[in-house]
């Protein structure tokens, strides 16, 4: 370096000559005369510390916090928009279907003119199980709404949780508008739920039916009518028909629609639980139902078929239930859980045969117990006396023994491992979400006759 080694010449040159140089004079020169080795050692120590810091920083750089790059949250979808994104270009679409009239905040994809659906022939996706040509006589088809599991709440508010608990996939709604009378238009609202499996449909249907109301089960349909409403579970669909009033015309229309749907929807074989209770135990089909989750208010109790053993008009509430599992070990474990569950509600009433621990309910003085048999768990709940309970359990055991091979083959555990109860395994939230503004009418026209059954309410 050119400036190194230049010694100051005292007194030479003006003060200004120092300012002429670009680089500083005597940059590295110092006046000390003695040097110590201890400085070198301390300095080397700090040098080592510096290297340590650099090494630490490098190591940190190579080990990033994984959550910084975790994109799994981005992949979890939000609710998809409703079906039917709008076409963008005008050419090819009938100009008369402009939507300027619907501009005030209609939620995307909920309501579309029925004419479009029928006209272009792409009916199925938008109508779901609703058969074409429902309008007859004085009734015209109104708007069809289609909703997915996540947007159902837009139409039915808090009831969405109940259907989600049964694994609802979609909802299609249709209002048939009838003639005016006395200044009021009559109409019939149809709600068609696709619950993916027939057992879910039956479970949902039974959950909403008050026990005092008898249902009819024939050729694959389970249904009942009640004043101005009708309810149908067929195949994997559960359909509700609610008329606007109880005038004869409306009631007749409701019945007519029920028949139309019974013919048009594809029926399915009843689930294996029905074969068990109806064929083996000779119970009426209307006494059997399916609970997808949270049976008897037990969090672990899922995929349960149960049947009313007491007659409908008796004050007893005795039920038998059966659950299919993958193998005998799983069944034994599940039976133990049931036993514990019952035990939490009362005191032991004495052991039974086959190691069944009978429990007497502390409030109701009824007897309950569960047992594992091969890969099933069977049990009796709410029996009025211990002898009755034991007798019923024996019948169940014999029924399993007599179960035909075909039914055994069908008796597989339902595939879902997640509890389709709404959000993240908890019961559906009690607070209804905020209503979007300017909703078209979203309350069912009349509340379903009778409250939902007591059991229905604690089973979801």
């Amino acid at each position: 370096m050119a400036k190194q080694g230049e010694v100051a010449k005292q007194g030479e040159g003006k003060k200004g000559s120092d300012e002429e140089r670009i680089f500083v004079k005597d940059g590295f020169r110092s006046f000390r005369r003695t040097y110590k080795l201890s400085e070198v050692y301390w300095g080397a120590g700090t040098g080592a510390v510096l290297l340590g810091i650099v090494g630490w920083v490098t190591w940190k750089g190579a080990h990033p916090d994984p959550s910084l790059f975790d994109m799994s949250a981005a992949l979890e979808g939000g609710p998809p928009p409703g079906e039917g994104s709008p076409p963008g270009d005008l050419e090819g679409v009938d100009a008369s279907e402009r939507r300027a009239g619907q501009r005030m905040g209609a939620p995307r994809g909920s309501e579309e003119p029925a004419g479009k659906g029928a006209g272009t022939g792409e009916a199925s996706a938008e109508r779901g199980p609703l058969p074409p040509g429902l309008a007859a006589g004085a009734y015209r088809e109104g708007k069809i709404g289609s909703f997915s599991a996540d947007t159902m709440y837009v139409k039915i508010n808090g009831r969405a949780g109940y259907f989600q608990a049964f694994g609802a996939k979609s909802l299609h709604t249709l209002t048939l508008e009838g003639p005016e009378s006395d200044g009021a238009t009559s109409s019939v609202d149809i709600e068609a739920y696709d619950l993916a499996e027939s057992r879910n449909a039956i479970g949902a249907y039974n959950g909403e039916r008050a026990p005092s109301i008898q249902s009819t089960a024939e050729d694959g349909s389970t249904f009942h009518t009640d004043r101005n409403a009708a309810f149908l579970a067929r195949g994997r669909y559960y359909i509700r028909f609610i008329g606007s009033d109880e005038s004869p015309a409306v009631v007749a229309e409701v019945r007519r629609l029920l028949d139309v749907f019974r013919r048009s929807i594809a029926g399915e074989e009843l689930p294996w639980g029905f074969a068990f209770f109806v064929d083996q135990l000779k119970l009426p089909a209307s006494a059997v139902t399916y609970v997808k989750s949270n049976a008897f208010s037990f969090g672990f109790a899922r995929d349960v078929y149960k049947a009313q053993l007491s007659a409908a008009d008796s004050k007893d509430d005795m039920e038998a239930f059966i659950v299919a599992l993958a193998d005998a070990d799983a069944a034994a474990a599940m039976a133990a859980q049931y036993a514990d569950g019952f035990a939490s509600m009362g005191k032991p009433a004495g052991p039974g045969a086959r190691g069944v621990k009978w429990i007497e309910d502390e409030f109701l003085a009824t007897f309950s117990g569960a047992s594992a048999r091969e890969r099933w768990v069977i049990g009796v709940r709410g029996a009025p006396s211990l002898e009755r309970a034991k007798a019923e359990l024996d019948r169940l055991v014999q029924a399993i023994g007599a179960l035909p091979e075909a039914v055994r083959a069908r008796a597989v555990p339902s595939g879902d491992t997640e509890e389709a109860t709404g959000e993240y395994g908890a019961a559906p939230s009690a607070a209804p979400p905020v209503d979007l503004p300017n909703q078209p009418e979203d309350e069912p026209r009349a509340t379903p006759p009778g409250k939902p059954a007591e059991e229905g309410s604690d089973e979801y």
């Binding site: 370096m1 050119a2 190194q4 080694g5 003060k15 120092d18 300012e19 500083v24 004079k25 940059g27 110092s30 006046f31 000390r32 005369r33 003695t34 040097y35 110590k36 080795l37 400085e39 070198v40 301390w42 300095g43 080397a44 700090t46 510096l50 810091i53 920083v57 940190k60 750089g61 190579a62 080990h63 990033p64 916090d65 959550s67 910084l68 975790d70 994109m71 949250a73 981005a74 979890e76 939000g78 609710p79 998809p80 928009p81 709008p86 963008g88 005008l90 100009a95 402009r98 939507r99 300027a100 501009r103 995307r108 996540d150 709440y153 959000e423 993240y424 979400p433 905020v434 979007l436």
Partner: protein, 582 residues
């Protein structure tokens, strides 16, 4: 001797220089005792920390960040920790690392200022490089001056303000100041100067537009000014203005190890002050609160009278005899120096002046806080804070205006706030300007690098409102509004709908109504007319950024509806329960 031009002389001078350097010293000690003396190590340390500082700022970028502690220096800064502890009563996240500086300070004194502080290194280097003084002037300029008290007043005002909840240390704290200056002025200049082949060395590579920062001119002016003041008084900022220096100085009063002057060797030549960085009077009673432990005095003393000793005994009373007559003796040796003072002088601030500074701090708080710009009544609608920010009064308790978030933001949407947007209290705090960028949906970098928690660390799940944060919903920065008088499909019969196209949420927060119209010239055209779905909008601003009506966008985001503050909610229901069921 005729000087050769540098190019030709270097090959000859290097071996010569090496040969000269490896001569043993005149006192017999080996050559490495001189070449590797303590000041050499200090220079190495200063260079290393400066390089580390610049590296960590350079590496604050999406593709480079990895696990680097990008805000390390800010976390090491004891004043940041102390002041935020005063204002928030907590020590956030990594701020405990300040102990690594505090403890050596309590033992050794202001080693931070002399060995670590990158801003101090910058001042010292510039002062050394452009120094044109000869020895006598060097000595004069390094004497202690009363104006050096000013930093203690500043510190008092800042700390009192912090105790009240207005954190303003970031205005003058050296690490914050240097970070801010590098981010807004030096890094863009560096990026612009790089040739295309070296573009991977840019601080913000891979962006189609050069980065811009509001008010960068002022920050640059301040930087050049403060660095330029080193030509007047060396390390002017460190001696006169630095609040961190004042803080460490107050603490180092009790330091165990200090520069000790041997009265029996010192000839009062004053050469020790030639390059004294702290102007701490080593030639008489050392002002430990000013001493930077730079060891330049030891390097310059021809008599070996100075040493760095543990708890040296105060010797003033132990002198036997008379100094004036030259018969003074100390521990059996003759005292040479005429200045027998070696007792440490505390920070030379009269008590009354401390009180004045405290009072100024107490008054400054209401003056700042009630000047409209930062209150619930009249907050600036365009002061939109980064995602993860705490609500506004708490934000001002935490933000140290370091601008690290602005550094790391990939889209250049974060800008230092101007006086108009946030007043003095909000000056240089981060706000979003959607004309320069937008907030990317899946990015949480700003929350990662914020050292004080003004932007709380959030992970992507929290930002997007996925499980387990679904109840609270996504983080909303504000809400977008349509100005239908400026929007092309609404007011100008012209199709467009870029806003809806780029809206990142699913379902989109912008919906469209279709309307087919016949224009003034008879053409039929289908217009997609956008409308807002406020319960879905997260205020990311990409709609405003992409709107072609660039001078005053037809869709714009304002701070209302932001989820960090209940005061600023828009729709019914507290922000926490406002969600679309997912």
């Amino acid at each position: 001797m005729k000087r050769l031009p540098v190019i030709q002389s270097v090959p000859r001078l290097i071996p010569k220089a090496i040969q000269e350097a490896t001569q043993p010293n005149r006192d017999g000690s080996p050559w490495y005792a001189r070449v590797l003396r303590i000041t050499t190590w200090r220079i190495v340390s200063q260079a290393a920390f400066f390089g580390l500082f610049m590296f960590l700022l350079w590496v604050s970028w999406f593709s480079r960040l990895g696990g680097y502690p990008a805000s390390l220096f800010l976390e090491l800064d004891p004043l940041v920790t102390f002041a935020t502890a005063l204002s928030t009563h907590t020590v956030y996240r990594w701020l405990w690392r300040a102990l690594w500086i505090l403890i050596p300070t309590l033992i050794l004194g202001r080693v931070f200022c002399g060995w670590i502080c990158p801003y101090g290194t910058l001042h010292q280097f510039m002062g050394w490089l452009f120094n044109v003084r000869r020895n006598k002037d060097n000595i004069d300029v390094n004497r202690y001056r009363p104006i050096f008290q000013f930093k203690y007043y500043l510190l008092t005002v800042f700390l009192v303000l912090s105790a009240f909840g207005a954190l303003q240390i970031g205005l003058l704290d050296p690490i914050c100041l240097l970070t801010r200056s590098v981010v807004t002025t030096i890094q863009p200049a560096w990026d612009a100067a790089l040739p295309a082949s070296l573009s991977s060395l840019a601080s913000s590579p891979g962006a189609p537009h050069p980065r811009v920062f509001s008010g960068a001119w002022f920050v640059g002016f301040l930087l050049i000014g403060l660095v330029g003041l080193n030509l007047v008084i060396p390390r002017f900022f460190c001696r006169v203005l630095c609040p961190l220096g004042a803080f460490l100085g107050t603490l180092s009063r009790f330091a165990l190890v200090r520069i000790d002057r041997d009265l029996t060797k010192c000839t009062d030549c004053n050469l020790c002050m030639r390059h004294c960085e702290g102007a701490s009077d080593p030639q008489e009673a050392l002002r430990k609160s000013e001493c930077f432990v730079c060891f330049n005095c030891i390097d310059d003393c021809p008599e070996d009278a100075l040493a760095f000793r543990v708890a040296p005994v105060p010797v003033h009373e132990k002198i036997i005899g008379s100094l004036k007559e030259g018969t003074a003796f100390l521990f059996g040796r003759r005292v040479i120096s005429q200045l027998p003072e070696t007792v440490i002088k505390p920070p030379d601030v009269p008590r009354r002046r401390w009180l004045f500074a405290g009072l100024a701090g107490v008054l400054a708080y209401p003056f700042l806080r009630y000047s409209k710009a930062v209150n619930a009544k009249s907050y600036s609608a365009k002061a939109i804070r980064p995602p993860g920010s705490v609500a506004e009064p708490e934000f001002l308790e935490r933000c140290i205006k370091c601008d690290q978030c602005i550094n790391v933001c990939p889209t250049n949407v974060l800008q230092p706030s101007t006086l108009a947007e946030g007043g003095l209290e909000g000056l240089w705090t981060p706000v979003m300007d959607f004309r320069t960028g937008f907030c990317q949906l899946n990015c949480t970098l700003c929350s990662e690098v914020c050292p004080t928690g003004a932007i709380q660390k959030i992970d992507l799940r929290k930002k997007l409102g996925k499980a387990p944060h679904a109840e609270a919903g996504p983080v909303r920065l504000g809400t977008a509004f349509f100005d239908r008088g400026r929007c092309l499909p609404w007011a100008m019969e012209t199709p467009c709908v870029v806003c809806e196209e780029v809206c990142p949420t699913s379902p989109k927060a912008i919906g469209t109504y279709e309307e087919e119209i016949t224009r003034w010239d008879g053409k039929k055209v289908l217009l997609n007319q956008p409308y807002m779905r406020p319960e879905l909008c997260i205020g990311c601003g990409i709609c405003e950024h992409e709107c072609p009506v660039q001078d005053q966008p037809a869709v714009y985001v304002t701070a209302i509806g932001e989820s960090r503050s209940k005061d600023r909610s828009l729709l019914l229901g507290a922000p926490e329960t406002q969600k679309v069921k997912s």
